[in-house]
Amino acid sequence: MSETLLSVEGLRTYFYTYAGVVKAVDGITLQVNKGETLGLVGESGSGKTVTAQSIMRIVPTPGRTIDGTVKFEERNLLRLKESEMQHIRGKEIAYIPQDPTTTLDPVYSVGDQLVEVIMRHQPVSKKYALAKATELLHSVGIADPEIRINQYPHELSGGTKQRIAIARALSCEPSLILADEPTTALDVTIQAQILELLKDLKQKFNVAMVLITHDMGIVADTCDRVTVLYAGQVCETGTTEQVFENPKHPYTEALLSSVPSLALRKETLSVIPGSVPNLIHPPSGCRFHPRCAYSRQVCIDKDPELEPIGEGRFVHCHRWKELDLKSAVAS
């Protein structure tokens, strides 16, 4: 096993709203090794984005991280002073947000935005930073970087903006990138370009990545390991092959079989009944039990532990030993 870069344990981030306390992230544990890509999958409201925000300590109000540890290269990020955290954000851990249109500043040129990040973290001259920015644009596959660098975000297409967001994330050579649904806002052919780019860059810069997505296809395509989230908790963790071929949690099984497949056509799709629970009043016991085909009394009464089951896998289910789950994708 390679070296651990980031390890999150028992992370809890709650949102204190007027309607009640939203337990958006409730005891998430995950691990990222050096140079690997971890897929963080789940539906909307499962806590993917809040997990990333908690790691970066940029949870918006009224949210607060109330428990857990985020260990990054032997430091607990949750204990650092804000000034120390500012040296880590952007420099050691970079964030690629979901929607490139809203995260680039419309009143600054592309060059200004990249130069700002570079000069914030490195003692270099503006001239050098600008040259570096041009080089970065080139390395993320943008044609004519000398022209683009003087343009403003509204002059660029969605795909180009996302490439710039990636260039900005890479600008200080971080050891970890948190990519929050980097292709969701893009068309499929552009998505293919960006995924290919991320894979290339990972090889070139040997950077570890947490790829947040709801698309099982993207996970299979790009990730080494995967952590499946449901309603703010981890369902299971394992290598991509293990989880896809031999899912141990009923939610993973259901998720895999409800995705329509390109290769074979089924008469009716299997369905996960109901919808994602309300996180102000989450279901008792295992949060998946109201929608689970295999639930028993114990699932309603008691929340299962996240249990290590060997080979680096973890499962959050009372009945994983008895269940013989089938993967819809294993051929």
Partner: protein
């Protein structure tokens, strides 16, 4: 033939607004000379990337957007003519038969109306069923789309995305339509809920014999739900075929690239992926000749000069390309 579109063109003018005068800069060629037909009780999928004109075609079919030119026939009646003459009885009759399900169920339901009001509003407009049957029919529709009776008194904000889409489907069914244009009905829903709505659409089709136009950018849902598929690129249809034929034997380089771009949820399957260079060109000045030639891996000289016609290369398989992939090339 249920629905036939002949030479449909829709251009949107683009203006530059000066202090006093506005100047016409050009036209967005949203849809250009498109012809297609939808058979009775079938689901025709319309696939393409954003901005290729899928939604515009559907909106023109229902005359939500008057076409620039071209004609639409529904069961032999000329839709464009009926709407132009604006004879209210005949327009309402057509509206009852052709319905639309919008992409975003969060935006297409009035937040100040209860579900009962939303579903019964069509009754009020069309008066096609007697007043004393309104409530019964409304509850019947609710149950048909998998909602409960007590949901009738609630407001849209109390529902999840999947449930809202069910309400939209119930509203569309309220006038007993024969044809429904469904514009990305599952795009804004979660994966686990998507399957529920797709199954519901299929059930309704079997029960009521409805014809669908299913618009999507997601080829995997299209494969699941559609009988035939039309692939669009920049306002033009480039390939039409039966679903299985299209997926097993795609010929147009764009269709092939689109299919190979979709990540497959199987870590073992490593496919050769065709990465298209660049982006979709602007529809204000579309490329000459074949509109795809700027990104096409198989372009030949003629592609940039002449526009390829849509011809039937095999029975039921239509293609507009000068240099298609050889048959059974990719997924054989």
């Amino acid at each position: 033939m249920e629905l036939e579109v002949k030479g449909l063109t829709k251009h949107f003018p683009v203006y530059e607004r000066g202090v006093i005068l506005k100047r016409r800069l050009g036209d967005v060629h949203a849809v250009d000379n498109v012809s297609l037909e939808i058979r009775k009780n079938e689901t025709l999928g319309l696939v393409g990337e954003s901005g290729c004109g899928k939604t515009t075609i559907a909106r023109c079919m229902l005359y939500l957007e008057p076409p620039s030119s071209g004609e639409i026939f529904f069961e032999g009646r000329n839709v464009t003519e009926i709407f132009r003459k604006a004879d209210r009885t005949r327009v309402l009759e057509l509206r009852r038969q052709m319905q639309y399900i919008f992409q975003n169920p969060y935006a297409s339901l009035d937040p100040r109306m209860t579900v009962a009001d939303i579903i019964m509003e069509p009754f009020e407009v069309h008066r096609h069923i007697p007043h004393d049957q309104w409530l019964d029919r409304m509850y019947e529709l609710l149950r048909m789309v998998g909602l409960e009776d007590y949901h009738a008194e609630r407001y849209p904000h109390e529902f999840s995305g999947g449930q809202r889409q069910r309400i939209c489907i119930a509203r569309a069914l309220a006038v007993n339509p024969k044809f429904i244009a469904a514009d990305e009905p599952v795009a804004s829903l979660d994966v686990s809920v998507r399957a529920q709505i797709l199954n519901l659409l299929q059930d309704i089709q079997q029960k009521l014999g409805i014809t669908y136009l299913y618009i999507s950018h997601d080829l995997s849902t299209v494969r699941h739900i559609c009988h035939r598929v039309a692939v669009m690129y920049l306002g033009k249809i480039v390939e039409v075929a039966e679903t299985n034929e299209l997926f097993e034997n795609p010929l147009h380089p764009y269709t092939v690239a689109l299919m190979s771009a979709i990540p497959v949820p199987d870590p073992k399957q490593k496919r050769h992926r065709i990465i298209l260079p660049g982006e979709v060109p602007s529809p204000i000045n579309p490329p000459t000749g074949c509109r795809f030639h700027t990104r096409c891996p198989r372009r030949v000289d003629i592609c940039s000069k002449e526009e390829p016609p849509l011809i039937e290369v095999q029975p039921g398989h239509w293609l507009a390309c000068y240099n298609p992939w050889p048959p059974k090339h990719v997924f054989a």
